[in-house]
Amino acid sequence: APEADLITNLPGLSFQPNFKQFSGYLSGVETRRLHYWFVESSSNPSRDPLVLWLNGGPGCSSLLGLLTENGPFQVKEDAETVIQNPFSWNQVANMIFLESPAGVGFSFDTAKNYTSSDDDAALNNYYALKDFFRKFPEYAGRDFYITGESYGGIYVPTLSNLVMKDPDMNLKGFAVGNGLSDDKMNDNSLVYFVYYHGLIGDKEWFGLLDACCPKNFSGICDFQGSEDLKCRQKLIGIQMLVWNSGLNVYNLYKECYGGVKDLTLHFDKTRGKFQSSNFGWPFMFLKNSPVSQRREKFLSMLPGSVD
């Protein structure tokens, strides 16, 4: 293991970890430098499997996963005290948290090129893993799993398809949590989900079926495939209900942290947000979705001209 990357004194720690941890950089393609934080298993690091964890976005940091989800540490409200997570996944695995692509978290590009894509992200993650095994040769041949969440539904399988061809990495499998697997299925199922959870009533539901599905259809309705204008307008209503009505889109039964700020889209207030972020989390506006199209329309208008 690289001595220079060993974390010897993590500020605010309220307990003494019984595992080693490392933080530093892994080389991606050319000028890309990806930050990793590696926590060894607290059980049997020399035998437990190696697991990579990737948060989604695209563009969100995996350190969120480490510090708020399945890592060994949690930061308290005071932003100073670090406590132990009793349900950390490093109780049974050596966990790598990788910030990617470059431009995410502490990862950067020495040439300041912050463009990326699905294939580019997968390739850079693959190169970073190669570099990890160079830095930590004791993990060569170890059972290896790639895991992730949300837009990790794209990151994880695309990376796995590269890694599984590499005989130097002993990839056993992958896991995806609440992942984006298929745009069409995700969007169509959401309409059913919304009805089944009582967010729309019978009148709206039968109106949707009437506008979007062929007469006497059976099976699953392809709402997103409909070209009907009335259907598209009703689907905008569903998207607005899910994302902009004050519901917590990430947990229907949880309060919205900070409260509901605004129930309408105010262009002058949201424009900056849209411009600063070409993604959502995990994908606030799906490509070609009604909301995405509306966003594009907003962005082409002059500030102040629309509320």
Binding site: S61, L67, A79, G105, S117, G173, G177, D182
Partner: protein
């Protein structure tokens, strides 16, 4: 660049402390830490992962697809349809799975559907971030997966 309705401001403050950056060996070239990047320009290329899953199944990889069942960003039903659409071999009946709660009682953790190489699992009452919302069932599920134990 924070996701809607989520907090975690303490993480932003903590990771941007100079002493924390030093302890983590963060380069001076790194930007200020944010939850989600505001400099990244990302181009999506894929609208389905069907070919990638099929290739992984052909390579005999083991796959777990899990969903907190009250998330709307990536809802469980869409991922269940996706797994079904792969037509994996040897489908088992959709069944409940259980965990032991802090008070020692056996509780329903959700439902699962197992196939030869792929398992679809729901975590009852969890949102998008399963390890945060349901840490104990989340850990049990992870252990089952990497240790290849049945649910």
């Amino acid at each position: 660049a924070s996701p809607p309705c989520t907090g975690d401001l303490q993480v932003i403050k903590y990771l941007n402390r100079p002493d924390v950056r030093e302890a983590l060996h963060i380069s001076e070239q790194a930007l200020e830490w944010t939850m989600c990047s505001s400099v990244l320009k990302y181009k999506r290329q894929y609208t389905t992962m069907m070919p990638q899953y099929q290739a992984a199944l052909e390579k005999k990889l083991r796959i777990l697809v899990y969903n907190g069942d009250v998330d709307m960003a990536c809802n469980f039903l869409g991922d269940e349809w996706f797994v079904d659409s792969l037509k994996p071999e040897n489908p088992q009946e959709r069944s409940p799975w259980y965990y032991t709660a802090a008070d020692g009682t056996k509780q329903n953790a959700g439902f699962f559907k197992a196939f030869d190489q792929i398992t679809f699992v729901t975590i009852r009452g969890s949102g998008h971030m399963v390890p945060t919302d349901k840490p104990k069932p989340g850990l049990d599920m992870f252990v089952n997966f990497i240790q290849n134990k049945p649910f």
